[in-house]
């Protein structure tokens, strides 16, 4: 057991249409070795024992690869450290006596379901609009490694594919823009030969869906790149801008 004492200011909201508010929760006996989510587990354990409603928050793998955890912690997506998700944030980053604000992602396109849980279905719908390659799976699949791809190109594609779709880019962006996410998803295919045949439709359709979901417009502020747990580069947004421009001009 640790001995940190903290005051948490957490957004509580009973349901999608309920009115929410920031509520203060003192927590004690927090170890600096706990992850932020484990600290919230301690709080929820206490709340349940006291017969109160626990704080709802998203989490799954708790090792930084699934993209489920979110949380706007102490004014920043996934908290104060760079290149990590909330589950990888440890309490040693905070000091005894700290007051920590914990809020859900704020975006009209990510409606709140309950407390800190938001509906990121908009990302799924953008992905479904073009984030794939159409492959014939009728038993005549070509081995993926049969096509030689230069290492620098495959590295770039892999860097873009590292996006876990957590939504920190949208949460960080003053415009609530989803461009870094869409740019990563477009780029991971645009950089590979398998993705080229559908590249034009992909860029046009994914951006169309992004606009339909009501995300804001990118104005190259760059907050997304700083807050992205997977260090997705703004180069990808430039690539999407090129892909979309080319597709708009050349699409038949």
């Amino acid at each position: 057991m640790g001995n940190m004492k903290l005051t948490l200011k957490i957004w509580r909201q009973a349901g999608p249409s309920a009115k929410g508010a920031m509520v203060d929760y003192p927590v004690t006996d927090i170890s600096e070795d706990m992850s932020f989510l484990e600290m919230l587990d301690v709080l929820n354990d206490k709340l349940v024992r006291e017969g109160q409603e626990p704080v709802a928050f998203d989490h799954d793998c708790r090792e930084g690869i699934c993209g489920a955890c979110s949380l706007f912690i102490d004014g920043r997506p996934h908290g104060p450290s760079r290149h990590i998700t909330t589950c990888q944030l440890h309490m040693r980053k905070f000091k005894d006596g700290d007051v920590i604000h914990v809020e859900p992602w704020r975006s009209g396109s990510f409606p709140i379901i309950k407390d800190l849980v938001v509906d990121r279905g908009a990302f799924d719908r953008i992905q479904a609009a073009g984030g794939f390659v159409s492959v014939n799976t009728n038993g005549n699949l070509v081995d993926a490694n049969a096509m030689p791809i230069p290492k620098p190109e495959s590295d770039k594609a892999f860097d873009a594919a590292a996006c876990i779709g957590c939504g920190a880019c949208v949460a960080a962006c003053p415009n609530s823009s989803a461009m870094l996410f869409v740019a990563a998803k477009v780029s991971q295919y645009a950089l590979l030969p398998q993705g080229r045949p559908e590249a034009k439709e992909r860029a046009l359709n994914m951006v169309e869906q992004m606009d339909k979901e009501g995300f804001g417009n990118c104005s190259n502020i760059g907050a997304c790149e700083i807050e992205c747990p997977k260090d997705i580069s703004l180069e990808n947004i430039a690539r999407l801008n090129r892909e979309y421009l080319g597709a708009s001009v050349a699409k038949e």
């Binding site: 415009n175 606009d211 190259n220 430039a238």
Partner: protein, 229 residues
Amino acid sequence: MAQQGLFGTSLAKKYWMALTGIFLITFLVVHAGINAMIFFNDGGVTFNTWAHFMGTNLIIRTMEIVLFLGLILHVVDGLMLWKQNRAARPTDYAFAKHNANSKWYSRSMGILGTLILLFLIVHLWHFWVKTRHIAGTMEPYGVDAAGQENLFALMADVFSNPLIVVVYVLGCFSLFWHLLHGFRSAFQSLGLNHKKYNGAIAFLGAAFAIIVPLLFASMPVAMYLGWVK
């Protein structure tokens, strides 16, 4: 609104913002270059020669219309982006550390642009409206040493008021911050992001954002203080 293509979509708005922005940047070069002729300190003769050329040349007068269209498109597009971007986050954060991940001027392009627009209204009134559309404005200023219409004298008259000098310097400050983000941003919006050139674009953008507004601001100040006669 179109759902795909080069009009109405979110990316189209960015392309138009970037293209009109770069166009307005090229205008600033011409404008600053010609106005800097006052620094010949020859009683405005060189400046008046150029001003006369700009005011009468058919190609320049046609470009003036294109310039106004470009400016209007830049302003309207910017206001549409501003409105949409604000609407995209109906409930704001109770506590956010924006400075941890971005620059204040990058986040304030709408406000900076509005300040520049307000300045432009004052500026256009002082020179463009008065000289082109109000008859008799130039009469009290007579002619210069070379017998040309004396726009230089009008300039000296306008900038004899310290309050106007302050407004112009503040306008140049807004322009400085607006360009510091806008110049580089225009290239990114058009997809022009490459490791080989990013350093050069960032340097050129910062240099432009400093030099051009500084040059503009130096004009009313120099005239008010009597450095240029």
